[in-house]
Each structure stands twice: as structure tokens, then as C-alpha cells.
Symmetry: C2
Subunit: 248 residues, 2 copies
DNA sequence: CCTCCAATTGCATGTAACGCAATGGTTATT
DNA sequence: AATAACCATTGCGTTACATGCAATTGGAGG
């Protein structure tokens, strides 16, 4: 179904990690190079692909444009921006804003750490729900009646030695996240990084985003991280308030 | 050629200004709704489209991801980042980093003005070459032998009363931009905004990007703008130096 | 319970996309 | 300078794929 569209998208994905030549692209996508060329031509006409010179293909600006317009569409982002910056300044650590998309976390904004040792992350990056602090918060936002089912259905691969793969334990963590509006990731996603997250609610009380503070363990030990807890939840409450939510 | 791919991309464009329903989308791209649905399904599978609920389609996170990875690929961006920030802090006005893509300017980074009156712009946005300061600089980067031809071939619509539509005048401006590494836009793109730009060179001496300072005329009169000229060119020289260029 | 609106599926048709192989242009190699 | 290697591009014949239609399902609201 929509073979050529899928192939076109595959080409874009292939281009995501740098410029490629036609043959390489044809190869990685698994089509004849003439086919690849015709697809690329369409992509180029629409500005999704750019050719700096005749035998190199790169991603084009239509993509930047689209993505940034789409990010504008994430209303919470604009509201949160200033608050995230402030949290970043106060703590000096990396701050993320994340939303849920199906069974994944999507980072929609971030404030970089001011410390020399920075984590690598990128707006638009995605991560699993089960092993991230933001993920736990966002799962806590799933209506209680379907939450169990949702968590059960989730793929829960162990990404580090600390990843919670057990359904019961994870459900318990999510419940706690829901109660306390605070969740943790103790190196469950990346061995040497831990995070603390809290949720943002809109006017209807639905959790629409999560804010997290992350740092390499070498820079910030666990107790210090917990020490920022109230700052993080307060930030979320301020954002929620701007979105029209009143804490009952 | 690649009809379905083109249609798929058209769907993405249609989604760029907000969530839409299936029928609306089918309508705007001019296909039967069953066709639209099948295309959307492919887009959704690949994460380019997201359905928050069953009858709304939005742009998906694959797009954010792709775009931000592509932006990482613009090497000059990373190098420039800090310098732009500094220029922004020093001047308090909006700073843009732009590259050329065919016959357009693409903004790849920006630092927002600290003033209450902000201009609206967005990373990934595109603009014409002939009526922007960055555009003139980037055209100055076109090799001299083909420059005339390039400028001539350009569409030069008048966007404001001040837009230079005349080929000779524009060529002259571009030549001056090349000589002085400085170009101006006196409300030629947006009536009430003026800009000053300068170029960034890579190790081979090629102009790979332009840095501009923009402000609404009400905030900054023309002489004040010119007063920042040396700051802007110095910023570009620092960036160029980091890219391995030595001024001869 | 019925109505309305939007999403979805099955099916028959024809076109649009495909792979192939040959050509043309540019850059490296001897 | 000649040749090899690489990459992009085009014409062509074939068929798989995408399409529009019309009927069906599913949900929201009265």
C-alpha cells in the first residue's frame, strides 16, 4: 500500500544521518537506482531533499520548515518555554519537555545544561515510555481504566541493568507517579544518567506533557537530584496554571 | 512521476498549519478520501503523521526528528551557535543564521531579540534572495562568472515599496556586498523591518552562510543599525576563523 | 433507538511506477 | 592522453500498485 510513498519516506530516513549518493540510497532502501532517482526528484521538487552538488543528496529545508511549524503547534511548548529556561538556569542541568505519541516519548523542547559535561539529546528524539521518568509521568496520564492494559501491552526491553521490565513493578511506579506527580529514572534508560520528571496538565486536567531534569550520575548524585524535586513540580504547576488548570 | 509520493508530501504540507480531518485533507490535495486515507496510513506507520484521536491528523514526530538531525548536519550551525548568542546579547536584537538553498534563503538558526517588540520568524523558514540582506550576501558567494546569470534568472517580485526589482541595481548591491562583506535590507522584504548581514566563509574561502541583525524600524533607526556593522562582520570573521578560514 | 458524519474496506480498472539496460558526463588512474 | 571507474540520467515494455467508486462499519449526538 503506497509503496512509492513508503520508499520516499525511507529515502528521507536514509538521508537523516548525512549526505548520500544515489547508489548508496538505492542500496539502503532496496530499489533500483533509477527508481530511487525518480523518487528523489519528487522529493527535491517539493524541497524535502536538496542537492548541494550533482552527486550528493541531503535533506532539504521543507523539512525544517514543516517540523518547526509542527512544533509551534504543540501549544504547551510556547507556554512552557520560559519556565523551562528558568528551571535550567536555576539548576544548571538539562531540562526536557516531552509529550507522548502512541507508545513513545517525544522530546519537544530542551534547555541545555550549563555544565561542561553535557548529555547528548535532540529535539524530536524519541524514547521508550517504560524506562524514562517522563514516560512514567505520561503513562500516569493515561485514564486509569485503560492504564493497566496500556502498560501491559507495552514492549519493555531492558536497555540497562536497571531497566524495569516487570509489569507489576512498572505499574506500581506509574501509580506512584500519578499520586505524587513525580517520577524517577535511576539509570533505566541510559546507565549513567538519572532523571526526575513531573507532569503538566491542561485546563481539563489531562496530563499533556512532562518536564524532566536529567544529569549524569557523576555530576549529580541521587539525593541531590531529589533535592530539586520541588523545583521541578513547581515549574510544572506554573505551566499548568498558565494552561488554565487549577489544582483542586 | 511518483504521483503518490507527491500526494503524500502534499498531505504533509497541508497538515503544516494545524490538525485536519480526513475529508478536509482529501479535499485540499484533491484526491478521493479513500486514497488520502491510504496515504495517511503509510505516513502514520512511518511516524510522519500522528493521530491524537481517530478523526484528527497532525504532523508526527518522525518529522521533528528528521529535521533536527538534518539541522545538526549543517556544520556551520554548531560552530556559529555561541557567536550568534553573543551577538544577540550584545545588541539585544534578533540574529539569524541563513544558508542558501537554490534560489532561496533558509534560516537555520536564530537568537531572539530581548526587546518586547519581537519579530516573527522561525527556524526553517525560507525567504527570497533578492530582498534580504542575507540573500545578497549569499548571492555574493556565487562564483563571479555565473553570478550575473544567476541574478538575472532570479524571480524578483516586489514585496514592499522598497524592494529592488531592477536587475542592474541588484547586481550592483550584490557586488558591493561581495566587496565589503556587508549587505543591507532597507525594508525590502518586510516594510517595517531592516537588516544588516555579513558572510561566513569556510576553509576554502567559500561563503557558506550569512549572519544578520534585524529589527523593526521603530526600535532601531538606520544609523543605529549601521553602528552595529563592525560587530556583525567581526562575528562572522570569528565564525569563519573557527571553520578554518584565514583572511588574506 | 435512530440519525448523521467520518473512517474504513472490497473490488475492478488503468495508469503510474518499476526494473532493465544503454547512454552520457565527470573524476580518478595508469 | 587514454582508459577506467563512478555516478546520474533516459527510453521502453510490463505489471504491480494505486486509484476511485460505492457500500459498510463505527461513534457521537439527539
Amino acid at each position: 500500500m503506497s509503496q512509492s510513498l513508503r520508499r520516499g519516506l525511507a529515502l528521507l530516513n536514509a538521508l537523516a544521518d548525512g549526505a548520500r549518493t544515489l547508489d548508496q540510497l538505492a542500496e539502503t532502501v532496496g530499489v533500483h537506482k533509477s527508481t530511487a532517482m525518480r523518487l528523489l526528484r519528487s522529493l527535491e521538487d517539493e524541497g524535502f531533499v536538496h542537492r548541494p552538488d550533482s552527486h550528493r543528496y541531503k535533506l532539504g529545508s521543507a523539512l525544517f520548515d514543516l517540523a518547526n511549524r509542527a512544533l509551534d503547534d504543540v501549544e504547551v511548548r510556547e507556554v512552557a518555554r520560559e519556565h523551562l529556561r528558568e528551571l535550567g538556569n536555576r539548576t544548571g542541568h538539562t531540562v526536557h519537555l516531552a509529550v507522548r505519541e502512541r507508545d513513545q516519548v517525544v522530546y519537544v523542547d530542551k534547555v541545555d545544561s550549563t555544565r561542561p559535561v553535557r548529555m547528548y539529546s535532540r529535539i524530536g528524539a524519541r524514547a521508550p515510555l517504560h524506562c524514562t521518568a517522563v514516560g512514567k509521568i505520561l503513562m500516569a496520564g493515561v485514564p486509569e481504566e485503560s492504564r493497566r492494559e496500556f502498560v501491559t501491552a507495552l514492549d519493555r526491553p531492558a536497555l540497562t541493568a536497571h531497566t524495569l521490565t516487570d509489569e507489576r513493578t512498572l505499574l506500581e511506579e506509574v501509580r506512584r507517579a500519578a499520586d505524587e506527580n513525580c517520577a524517577l529514572d535511576r539509570g533505566e534508560h541510559e546507565e549513567f544518567v538519572h532523571c526526575l520528571a513531573s507532569g503538566v496538565r491542561d485546563a481539563r486536567g489531562t496530563i499533556v506533557a512532562a518536564v524532566s531534569l536529567s544529569a549524569p550520575k557523576v555530576l549529580l548524585d541521587f539525593d541531590e537530584l531529589l533535592g530539586w524535586r520541588d523545583e521541578v513540580t513547581a515549574t510544572c504547576e506554573r505551566i499548568s496554571a498558565e494552561l488554565g488548570w487549577w489544582k483542586d
